[in-house]
Amino acid sequence: MSEIHLTINGKPVVAQSGQTILEAAKQADIDIPVLCHHPALANWGACRMCLVEVKGMRGLQTSCTCPATEGMEVETETEKVVAVRKFVLELLFSERNHYCMYCQMSGDCELQDLAYRYGLDHWTYPRPFEKMEVDASRKYFIMDPNRCILCSRCIRACSEIAANHTLGLRDRGARTMVVADLDVPFGESTCVECGTCLQVCPTGALIDAKSAYGGREKDVIHTQTTCMQCSVGCDLDVVTRYQRLLRVDGVWESEPSGGLLCVDGRFKPLYEKRQRVTGPLVRKDGKLVAAGWNEALGIVAEKLQSGSCQGLAYCATTDEALTAFARLFAKVDGAAGRIEPQVAPLGFGQVAKVQDVLDADVIIVTGAQPLEYQRVIGYFIHRAADQGAQVAVITDDENGLSARAAMTLTSAEAGKAVETAAGAGKVVVVYGTEIKPEVIAALKPLGDEAYILALDPARNAQGATAAGLQPQEPSDVDVLYFLLGEQSEDAALLAKVNGAFKIVQAAYHSPLVDQADVVLPTPIWVERTGHVTNLDGSAKPLHAALLMPENVRDEAEALAALADMIG
């Protein structure tokens, strides 16, 4: 990369070789309008909004695809350029139904903004637009083709970022439209509902079912936090208004996901149906009744000191809470551990980061289902495969990654994956708790060159490890203390719970909560402050986008208060 010098609108601009005119202009704070261009997507050059005049070049150039070169003289708002942009906008407005007043994007729409910018004050061309059917077959978002300008951002997001390739274009000319798979309703397609298409749509063609008409950009608050639905720990941009959760967006240029989210992080938490625990509860005369924090904590403190006790945590909470939990049980001489199983180290290789998957030459997946859980890693594997990486899935059951893998092997054939990896550049092994000992033995010849990505099933596994919490089973003690956070217990755990005095700290009601003797409420992801440590080992900050209910306290705070009471 070398420096190049050009002038844009008479202003001297320094750019890097390989940058486009648009990128050079952006760096110099010169605004060139775009519709099909998006910084997270490949340059396209379809919408003709970014046309500029370049001295010495014939015709107008699309600045999003034209490389900046030494000595170039660029003009971005000449009469000629403006006239063409206006003409293109007039055609776009005549083609489909852009009657802004009834569109939920009105006020936040990139197309509408440009119409204002270039002074479209009437329809220049007749509007022959045919009414097209709205596709509401998907739960979380809706496609209204009548608002579509065919910029193809959604298609590129689907194939480049999510590597899912569900979206394409049908037909050509005036009949062109975005379709899924073989032109099936979106809800019946291969769509994985990651919502990336929704986030990049410049108009109101893709509509979020929850936040539509819930508030314009000027009305809402954005809070950046970290996703707690799995251990990948993607950055979230949480959109709220009046203490109401509207929408979750990905954050471009963030690590590790680069803006990609999955249905578990973007949509599902907004459709939570479980009943919230909104204040402390204590069992009186066989019934759980509301109590004050002092009373509830008093009972817990007394019980923890009066007999043998054990603390078991789902790692679904903050680093701070897990540390305070371990500290409390050290103080009362109780055992403390985590409930989820842990992935054991393989004994060879170097620790991989999530993004190591993206530039791998060979990816070996075993004992894990990243497309079902930690989905972003599954999408990253697809992305690497699109770039030519060989994916080998070693499994004796079904694995969603098999469909697009170069090979699917049984445990007995695991050696073949090592053969494939021999001589290849970067080898990444992605594994989970289901990995079999014979597969570990077979993969061992990969040696310390290989990158190893252990998919711990716990959401904040690294935080738990840092706090010294190892997997434990419920034991025969007088007092059992469960730190559940947002995670409802699974049936296997419930079956192992004995007749001990039970303290449960949880955000939602569940059978275990309903059996408890004392229940302490916890905040949920969107109300949390503190940190979570993701798979990459970075302690990522949590910022509360919503206030906790009045009678809820953060676990770390409640656990510290308990420790103080015990003294």
Binding site: I155, H165, T166, G168, L169, R170, D171, R172, D181, L182
Partner: protein
């Protein structure tokens, strides 16, 4: 039925090679064999070439020589561009619609005829021009069109 289709797909893919680059050729050939590409055929091609269904559909629906909808036994493609238009194309257009009782873009209910507009086919000197399947007809007049249609009907067994 499905077996036959799978066999056709296998054979066609084998002929052009199982690569992404051969997609257009494979689709065109299959479309010609069966008259159009139904969804199971498109899905089979996608699977066979390991390309996304969305891409197969985009390509198949883009080209006019490939159809993803059932077409009539004969496909009439009438030039809609300016040189044919000024040479009297409008009259031919109307004659075709009247004679077949359908509009452009439609197929007759007996499945005999599909009427489609096309862009210039490079025979402007003899406009107005139309194609019926692979055959080209120039210097068209309404009378000539009716004669041609009658001839085809006769060949097809004297159906009205």
């Amino acid at each position: 039925m499905e077996e036959r289709m799978m066999h056709q797909v296998d054979e066609t893919v084998a002929r052009y090679g199982s690569t992404d680059e051969a997609l257009v050729e494979i689709l065109r050939d299959l479309s010609q064999q069966a008259g159009y590409l139904d969804r199971p055929t498109l899905a089979a091609v996608a699977k066979k070439l390991a390309v996304p269904e969305s891409r197969v559909f985009s390509v198949a629906s883009f080209y006019s020589m490939i159809s993803v909808e059932p077409l009539g036994k004969h496909v009439i493609r009438m030039c809609q561009d300016a040189p044919c238009h000024v040479a009297g194309g409008r009259k031919i257009w109307e004659t075709l619609e009247q004679a077949l009782g359908i509009q452009f873009g439609q197929t007759t209910s007996d499945g005999q005829w599909t009427l489609m507009p096309t862009s210039c086919i490079g025979l402007c000197a003899v406009g107005p021009v139309m194609m019926i399947d692979d055959e080209v007809f120039g210097n068209l007049t309404p009378e000539k069109v009716n004669e041609i249609l009658a001839r085809y009907r006769e060949q097809d067994g004297g159906a009205a």
